[in-house]
């Protein structure tokens, strides 16, 4: 089995997901990453999920698609998703694609957690 690309920390229904590698959100790994995130989310009811982009240097449209699937799945479980610590270049890609209107993006992990309702 391929090694994990994410680390998952759970405290009650708060789930923090960190990426381990820098180039993980490209086409080569995104399918496996999506499966790992969905697995972490699906075991919780009303999950509050924070995905931390601290180590991520590259994105692709496939990664956007995976994040949208995760967002749908979290909403289907009556949960909330936040993204944080996105580099300016990747944030620009969110703005360019207008996906900053779909996702709730925070500067820090702490502000992301504080934004849950």
């Amino acid at each position: 089995m391929a090694s994990s690309h994410i680390s998952v920390r759970k405290t009650d229904n708060l789930i923090r997901i960190d990426f381990i590698d820098r180039n993980i959100l490209d086409e080569l790994n995104i399918h496996q990453i999506g499966e790992e995130i969905l697995k972490a989310v699906e075991s919780e009811f009303r999950p509050k999920v924070v995905i931390v982009f601290k180590n991520v240097e590259h994105m692709s449209s496939a990664a956007f698609g995976t994040l949208m699937k995760v967002n749908e799945r979290v909403k289907a479980r009556d949960g909330q998703l936040r993204l944080c610590q996105i580099t300016p270049r990747i944030h620009e890609a969110f703005v360019m694609t207008k996906l900053n209107r779909i996702f709730s993006i925070s500067d820090t992990y702490e502000t992301a957690v504080a934004s849950f309702v």
Partner: protein
Amino acid sequence: MANSVKAFRCEHTLRELREGLERVHPEAEAALAAHGFDDGAKFAIRLAIEEAVVNAFRHGNRSDPKKSVHFRAYIDDTRASFEVEDEGPGFDPATIPDPTEDENLEIPSGRGVMLIKAYMTEVEYVPPGNLLRMTYRKPA
């Protein structure tokens, strides 16, 4: 200043997506660094190469393992140009829905071509649409 590094040229026939990306990304990144492209340019070009090669395999060749993707690159101190050609029937890029329109925003796919056009200086789909030419020019 005159060019101090010889222009980089390469041509590859890619037979499989993963192997293809693992081949072209490091080669392009090394050439871009040698020719003084900054981190923002390298980010943009990597993303465009990724989207172009993925589209060529997935949509152009429709993941047919008997078909290849032809990748050509030219990089000098002023520009980075690429050609990505698949062996499929081609397509009309004008038929792709705009992913930034409100009604398309929540559709998980269809952003690759838009990102290529956003990040590269010049983008051309040569009819019948199975050959993509794209260039990133350093700002003057």
